[in-house]
């Protein structure tokens, strides 16, 4: 419903409209607590992580709603300064874009129309967690997982971190499901001893850890279609493969209910949208394959994505009907983290549409 609305309008007009509805964060959409997204063009945002050790800056790139033109480095162009080192996560919510920059340890709050930075929150001396890894939003709050073991809550009106909860070590990509935040505790910095096998479940009201559940080894990303919760766990890059799981309630031998995870398919990247899980499997030393899993029927279909050189990120936009897979170029048979990458566009059935050139290290896609 939000798409096609502003098709013919110029960017200037878009910004004016954006400016008029600037106070649109919570409670202005019939009491649902969610901001009205219809005012914003259905663009895709891509974060290029860059490679700061080699002087390649991180970037925010934008693919327009018609899927015609890709604008690279919009943040730098508008703000005349760098987004920072290793942009790691982002979300477009209400009138703003929130970008977490992992190494620079900042959250940039960016105007959704003009790409002007409204506020830069430095996390360097934060007591609510540092080094952002992922973001979700609900009811006027943006929740940020922090690599030092916190989920922080950012109020979109005051633009301050107003609370945080301690979760497990090295949380990765969080998701909201049943009014709870599911936090994959990867324990990635402790890999020499072993990766993590837990997830923290955090209730939104009160903002607190409700329970810690056992999950498959090295949990990386929770995903939901609204009715189910899925988990991508990365395994140990050795004898335990990376797989996508579906969370189920099981009854154990004693007749008690407990949470379990049923494997769906082997995958190293995954995104949920349009009733499907889109998956990329690029196992340690193996060949890359692509598939989509239909959640309702439980069937998996292979996809051919030969246009993707080396997959580094995936995003699906049901409303616009696009599947985007970002890629690093292959150089001499190996992925290059320095050379500029590409963004490949497919329809929801995996039919190839287009390839865009994009900066180096494109790894994060959001809408």
């Amino acid at each position: 419903m939000k798409k096609h609305y502003l098709y013919a309008m110029s960017l200037a007009l878009v910004s004016m409209l954006g400016a008029c509805s600037n106070d649109d964060e919570p409670n202005d959409n019939g009491g649902t607590g969610e901001p009205d997204e219809t005012a914003y063009a259905d663009v895709a945002y891509i974060l290029n992580q860059g490679n700061m050790g080699q002087k390649v800056e991180g970037r925010l790139s934008v693919l327009d709603e018609n899927r015609q033109e890709l604008s690279s480095g919009v943040f730098q162009a508008v703000n005349k300064r760098s987004l920072g080192d290793t942009p790691q996560c982002g979300i477009a919510y209400g009138s703003k874009i929130y970008v977490g920059v992992y190494v620079s340890n900042t959250i940039e709050i960016i105007d959704r129309n003009t790409y002007k930075s409204i506020k830069q929150i430095s996390l360097e001396n934060s007591d609510k967690g540092t080094q952002p890894r992922s973001m979700v939003a609900k009811n006027g709050k943006v929740y940020v997982s922090m690599y030092d073991g916190y989920v922080a809550r950012l109020d979109t009106l005051s633009m301050e971190l107003d609370a945080s909860v301690k979760v497990g070590p090295n949380p990765e990509n969080i998701e909201i499901f049943n009014n709870r935040i599911y936090v994959p505790n990867s324990d990635g910095m402790n890999y020499k001893v072993g990766y993590g096998e837990t997830a923290s479940v955090v209730t939104l009201e009160p903002f607190a850890v409700e329970e810690t559940i056992k999950v498959p080894l090295n949990p990386n990303k929770f995903m939901t279609d609204g009715t189910n919760l899925f988990l991508l766990s990365m395994g140990n890059y050795g004898d335990v493969d990376a797989e996508v799981y579906k969370m189920v309630e099981k009854v154990n031998d004693k007749g008690e209910k407990e949470i379990g995870f049923n494997s769906i398919a082997k995958a190293t990247l995954a995104a949920v949208g349009a009733g499907k899980i889109y998956m990329v499997n690029a196992p340690y030393g193996g060949t890359v394959s692509y598939s989509r899993y239909d959640i309702a029927s439980g069937t998996t279909r292979e996809m051919k994505c030969d246009e993707v050189s080396y997959p580094s990120g995936i995003g699906v936009d049901a409303e616009n009907g696009t599947l985007l897979i970002s890629a690093m170029p292959l150089d001499g048979g190996y992925a290059s983290y320095v050379l500029p990458g590409t963004l490949c566009e497919y329809d929801l059935n995996g039919l190839y549409r287009k390839t865009y050139n994009i900066g180096s290290g494109p790894a994060v896609i959001f809408f």
């Binding site: 360097e124 170029p329 320095v338």
Partner: protein, 666 residues
């Protein structure tokens, strides 16, 4: 008796035990050694006469050329690429002629230093106060009476410290020096030496070095220009050595005990929007070595050395992301080394050497899953040298055997190789100091323990990285033409090849691994000039200059994006120069080093260019004599034009600063 004098003269002139070994070669007559004894501004004569390229900077040159520290000394040598992470506490490594720094051996008082973990030696720990000479051999060393290990690297830097003197009479000498500089730098140094008679002598030195190292720099972030400081950059280092020696008719026995301890904070790279760093590194190194050299007969000489080395590094970082909130990586390396060489001189002009080395290295750590790798290295060389009035020919063949093992896991591949080297020097005119030289050397380096074993990164299937070096040079030296004194000019062109280059490649999004992938070809040119211009009886100008051209091309495959580009961090052009005005009042030196633009990667992407720079400095020095005491004062202005530059991306170098030192000698 003559032997004895020769021996004494040699030790006086060239404190490095191994260089001293050249004295056993009858070709190196007393007359050739004497210029070293009388060194003022004269170059080491081997610079021009050597069959392979070699450059020496001795303690006198250090003063006369206004050299400020070891990294500055490295920049004054041709063909050398310095990696300097900035300031007093920043790590400094060197690579020579487009080959990686793991190919450069650092030889300290005759014994090659080793770091089996990284394969690189941090030169920042060697203070020039204790250096009597630095010699860089690009390629083969043209001496043959050396341990086998001396032939096992593509190039080598010999650092010689001040050792115990050898005089028949009792004597004692003392040297004390204090250096103070900007950003809370201070460095006291003391050295004593005593001859006890009967051929016994001993010496020792100790130094402490502190620097806050929080120098300012300008950070440019788009339109945002800010003045920042290097935070978390201080260091405290101390170092002490004790040397003993005993000269007798049987030969010379020399012993050394060394200890170094450095606790430093690491500022890390400059990252936008972040100023905090909690990284800390403590490094300690102890070694003891015993060296024997003696002449068994008029035809046979013997050299033997044993060494035990222990070094540790402890890296800590405080960050909530680590288990328990801190990272604490502790590594211990141990090395046992033994070498013996026999020199045989069957007839005048011909000498033969056989050397055998055994080294045992291991690496242990507190890290979970560490496999405790170790390596036994067996090296043998057979070398022959022929010298006549016009021609010097030197050939050497090295047989290496490397045996890898690990106490708790799979070890890397073993390796064995034959490595040949040949060098020739020809003097066409007997009345002119003009030389033509050519050399070839084939050598390889073993994978370091990091490359072979580092968790989620190393690969035990690596082959050695192989290099071939070809050099052709013209040199000229003269003790004087009209108003020019001691002129030495060298010009060497070279072509180097690297095969099976060890590089890191991503295995998937999360794991990198090491593989033998790259090929590199380097074309280069090194030119040096040293001379003295006599202006007046008490006035002279000393001139020293180097120029280097390095075209280092990745040649792995034409399909790769880096095909025939310039290898990362290697400048096309670099050079240095110094001009010294010696006069009765106060001596003055102006000097510079200049490096053209480099790229952070071998793709040469436009945004990844690091601009070139010229770093200029001024030094004044003066000696005073008060009775038996010599007082030497020196004042330095570094980076005179306050040029902001980087050698390593995101590691800014210090701007303009000053340094003062006072040295007292009894």
């Amino acid at each position: 008796m003559r032997k004895q004098i020769l021996l004494i003269l040699t030790y006086l002139s060239v404190p490095c035990l191994l260089e001293a070994a050249t004295a056993y070669n009858p070709e190196d007559s007393v007359s050739q050694i004497l210029p070293d004894l009388l060194v003022t501004s004269a170059e080491n004569s081997k610079t021009a006469r050597g069959a392979t390229p070699q450059q020496t900077i001795n303690s006198e040159n250090i003063k006369l050329r206004g050299i400020t520290d070891i990294s500055d000394a490295m920049r004054r040598l041709p063909g050398v690429n310095l990696r300097d992470y900035g300031g007093a506490g920043g790590m400094k490594t060197v690579s020579v002629r487009g080959l990686g720094s793991e190919h450069t051996a650092i030889v300290y008082d005759g014994v090659a230093l080793s770091d089996c973990q990284s394969g690189q030696i941090d030169l920042s720990r060697y203070s020039l106060d204790n250096v009597s000479s630095l010699t860089l051999y690009a390629g083969e060393n043209d001496d043959i009476f050396l341990p086998a290990k001396a032939a096992a690297s593509a190039s080598s830097l010999y650092i010689s410290s001040f050792l115990a003197p050898s005089t028949s009479s009792r004597s004692i000498s003392l040297r004390a020096k204090m250096t103070v500089g900007e950003w809370s730098y201070y460095n006291p140094y003391i050295n004593f030496a005593q001859s006890l008679g009967n051929g016994f002598s001993w010496s020792g030195n100790a130094e402490f070095s502190h620097s806050k190292n929080d120098y300012p720099f300008t950070l440019i972030n788009g339109d945002l220009v800010t003045r920042e400081r290097r935070e978390n950059s201080q260091m405290n280092a101390w170092h002490a050595e004790l040397n003993g020696r005993w000269d007798s008719k049987m030969g010379t026995l020399a012993a050394k005990v060394y200890y170094y301890d450095n606790a430093r904070y690491l500022p890390g790279p400059v990252i936008y929007y972040v100023s905090k760093s909690n990284e800390h590194l403590r490094e300690r190194n102890f070694f003891g070595q015993l060296n024997y050299k003696g002449r068994l007969s008029s035809k046979v000489s013997l050299l033997a050395t044993g060494k035990f080395n222990w070094s540790t590094s402890r890296y800590t970082d405080i960050n909530g992301k680590y288990p328990g909130g801190t990272l604490d990586d502790y590594y211990i390396q141990r090395e046992t080394y033994m070498t013996a060489s026999a020199l045989y001189i069957p007839c005048r002009g011909v000498s033969l050497d056989y050397s055998a080395d055994w080294t045992w290295n291991n690496l242990s750590s507190n890290l979970p899953g560490h496999i405790d790798p170790y390596r036994n290295s067996l090296l043998q060389t057979l070398a022959a040298k022929y010298s006549s009035g016009h021609v010097t020919i030197l050939g050497r063949i090295l047989y290496s055997l490397y045996l890898n093992g690990a106490r708790h896991g799979d070890a890397g591949s073993n390796a064995s190789r034959w490595s040949p080297a040949l060098s020739v020097s020809y003097k066409p005119f007997s009345s002119q100091g003009f030389y033509v030289r050519g050399s070839y050397k084939n050598i390889f380096r073993m994978p370091t323990f990091n490359e072979a074993y580092f968790d989620h990164y190393g690969s035990i299937n690596l082959d050695p990285e192989t290099t071939d070096q070809l050099n052709v040079g013209l040199t000229y030296e003269t003790s004087g033409i009209s108003f020019l004194d001691n002129l030495t000019v060298t010009c060497d062109g070279y072509m180097n090849h690297v095969r099976n280059k060890i590089v890191a490649v991503p295995y998937n999004m999360f794991i990198w691994t090491m593989t033998n992938l790259g090929k590199v070809r380097v074309f280069g040119l090194d030119v040096t000039l040293n001379g003295e211009l006599r202006l007046h009886r008490a006035h002279s100008l000393l001139l020293s200059g180097t120029y280097s051209y390095q075209r280092a091309q990745p040649r792995t495959s034409p399909d790769k994006a880096d095909w025939m580009k310039q290898v990362a961090y290697i400048p096309l052009n670099s050079g240095s120069g110094s001009l010294t005005w010696m006069n009765p009042w106060v001596n003055l030196v102006a000097h510079f080093t200049a490096v053209s633009a480099r790229y952070t990667n071998s793709y040469n992407l436009p945004g990844t260019r690091i601009p070139g720079y010229a770093d200029t400095g001024l030094a004044i020095f003066k000696d005073f004599r008060v009775k038996h005491t010599i007082i030497e004062g020196r004042f330095d202005l570094l980076n005179l034009f306050d040029k902001q530059y980087e050698i390593v991306a995101q590691y800014p170098m210090p701007g303009r600063s000053w340094k003062v030192s006072v040295e007292v000698k009894f």
